[in-house]
Symmetry: C2
Subunit: 334 residues, 2 copies
DNA sequence: CTGTTAGCGCCTTCAA
DNA sequence: TTGAAGGCGCTAACAG
């Protein structure tokens, strides 16, 4: 009997087994934007890898614009079709978060912390602070931050990164007046950034860029007009995009594989837990004992990766680095 | 009644409906390698977009190594879990193709033509021929081809591209002796390519590179050693990677969105056709009339996209371009 | 045209 | 330990 099954390479129908067991063996991933973008692609790959190792499938829910966003939260297509949902998208509104609660299935937020919900994220602000600190320690004082305009109403955790810049600059005694923010309209808008950079009264010597994609575009635009990196300007990115290594871009690495693995593992575990009541549960009585520990909130560390786009500024800084012996100026190490 | 359903944002269970109807509303996509790679990501995005417009879901089957490859074809997990399969991976062996036939579900090959099967692909060879022709018309004679070593037993349609180079060079009266092939070990191995390039007795003036990813790596390596593009060497890529525009890489554009859309549309249509017999059909009698037309085989055109990495060679070519009046040498147009 | 019912394929429970 | 049966939620066929 088994031999025959083997012979015909019988595969169980997930539909039928799901109907019988009440679980679909599927984890949903809510993403926004292009699936082929560096972040989405990497996250998807990591999630797929760890889920498939557990025999689970990955279901994608992609939201590209306001209409799709509205419809997703109106119809909640994930309901009863996945066992858990990983939210790896823009920042949700409170109303949207509540709506997802209605799903009565485990939720895992990725790069987005929600009170009372499981999440796994990096610390965007700490990451940027590390990056800016690195530039300051190299001797830079005129450090600009390069950000990207918010797109169509979608806010990402990356939008917080500028706060890390502000905080670290302020901590170094370089408050608002010394801070310079350059703004790109899109991630490929390096030209505009260089234009703003070159228009500034006192040329920044280093650029902390919100994302690698934008940083690469900025570097390319620099080179086009003859600005060398790091000789004329240091450029530091954020993400560790696949092509950062190709172009020698120093960056704050965001460990997407770890992020994805943690989120997927968590989602898988939670999904394997007790089945949610099929009938909408009545509001929990106020007397119910609170669960001892809240849902897991994991933060994975970022890491500064030095390549060849950052170095000490060409001129000796006017302000000494601070404590420690004053070092002799030398050629920045390659 | 309907109001109540609306209220609770009821969503049908795909599992149950699939069990009842015999169709899962799901299309499988077989891919290999990293889901976040430019090609996989773009294809997935396009497929997802057109499928979801038809209310279909996308199921990913990713094969990363020989073990996974073997297991996929042994267990055929797609069986009974998707309504059609899009094969967007390495070139399948004849045995593997036959195995997929066992699934008795519609198959659509993407960038891979299989006799008797539906497929949608670009013409890799014609694409490269166009690219090489462009370089020859610019006046280049010492045109090298840059390829990537086969990885672990996975052969991709891109491996044929070198044939386009050979053919076009030969057609231009530049046979084997004039042809130069540089080989990279990986897509990020530009250094090695430039090393080989600079070691060659007579320096090629143009490089036709198998893929944009590799071309970007080659350009970066060129710049690192002071070789300018296109002044010192023209570089032409293949794909139209998202970052090609950022770095001004001229390229043969492969319209992935179209590819994906066609494949998904085809798969959706075929999946909507008659249900396959659930009992394995007996071998068709030899007398059965052949269906009039074979399955659809669509070829989508590639397109030369000129940016700033290709130009006329610095020196006047030794051999005149051929027919037509000899033009005066001038600065290559930017 | 609306209301009822059988059954899709699998899992789990209960009986043998 | 092995075998038979009910039901998961939905659809389609059928009866009213």
């Amino acid at each position: 009997v088994l031999a025959a099954a083997e012979e015909l390479s019988f595969a169980v129908s997930r539909s039928a087994s799901s109907l019988a067991t009440g679980r679909s063996g599927r984890i949903g991933v809510l993403v926004s934007g292009h699936l082929g973008s560096w972040f989405n692609g990497s996250i998807l790959d990591g999630i797929y890898a760890t889920l498939s190792a557990d025999g689970l499938e990955t279901s994608i829910y992609r939201i590209n614009d306001a209409t799709e966003r509205e419809r997703f939260f109106a119809t909640l297509p994930a309901r009863r079709n996945v066992d858990a949902l990983i939210v790896a998208s823009f920042a949700l509104t409170a109303a949207e978060q509540e709506r997802l609660e209605d799903l009565s299935m485990p939720l895992v937020y990725l790069n987005q912390t929600v009170p009372g919900a499981a999440s796994v994220s990096i610390d965007d602000i700490a990451g940027v602070r590390t990056g800016v600190r690195h530039l300051l320690h190299l001797g830079h004082r005129r450090v600009a931050f390069v950000r990207r305009e918010d797109r169509t109403g979608f806010v990402y955790s990356a939008a917080q990164r500028i706060e890390g810049y502000r905080a670290e600059m302020a901590a170094a005694g370089l408050p608002a007046a010394h801070q310079v923010v350059l703004t790109a309209r899109s991630s490929t808008d390096g030209e505009e950034v260089v234009a703003q950079h070159l228009s500034h009264e006192t040329l920044p010597t280093a650029l902390m860029v919100e994302s690698d994609e934008l940083a690469l575009s900025v570097m390319a635009a620099c080179w086009r007009v003859g600005l060398r990196t790091p000789e004329d300007v240091s450029v530091l990115g954020f993400d560790d995009h696949a092509l950062a290594v190709t172009f020698g871009l120093s960056t704050i690495a965001q460990p997407v594989e770890v992020l994805a693995q943690e989120a997927a593992g968590l989602a898988g575990t939670l999904a394997a837990g007790p089945l949610p009541d099929s009938v909408p549960a009545p509001p929990a009585p106020a007397t119910a004992a609170q669960p001892a520990a809240g849902p897991p909130v994991v933060t994975v560390p970022t890491r500064l990766v030095l390549r060849t786009s950052t170095a000490r500024p060409a001129q000796e800084p006017e302000i000494p680095t601070g404590s420690g012996p004053r070092r002799k100026a030398g050629r920045p190490p390659r």
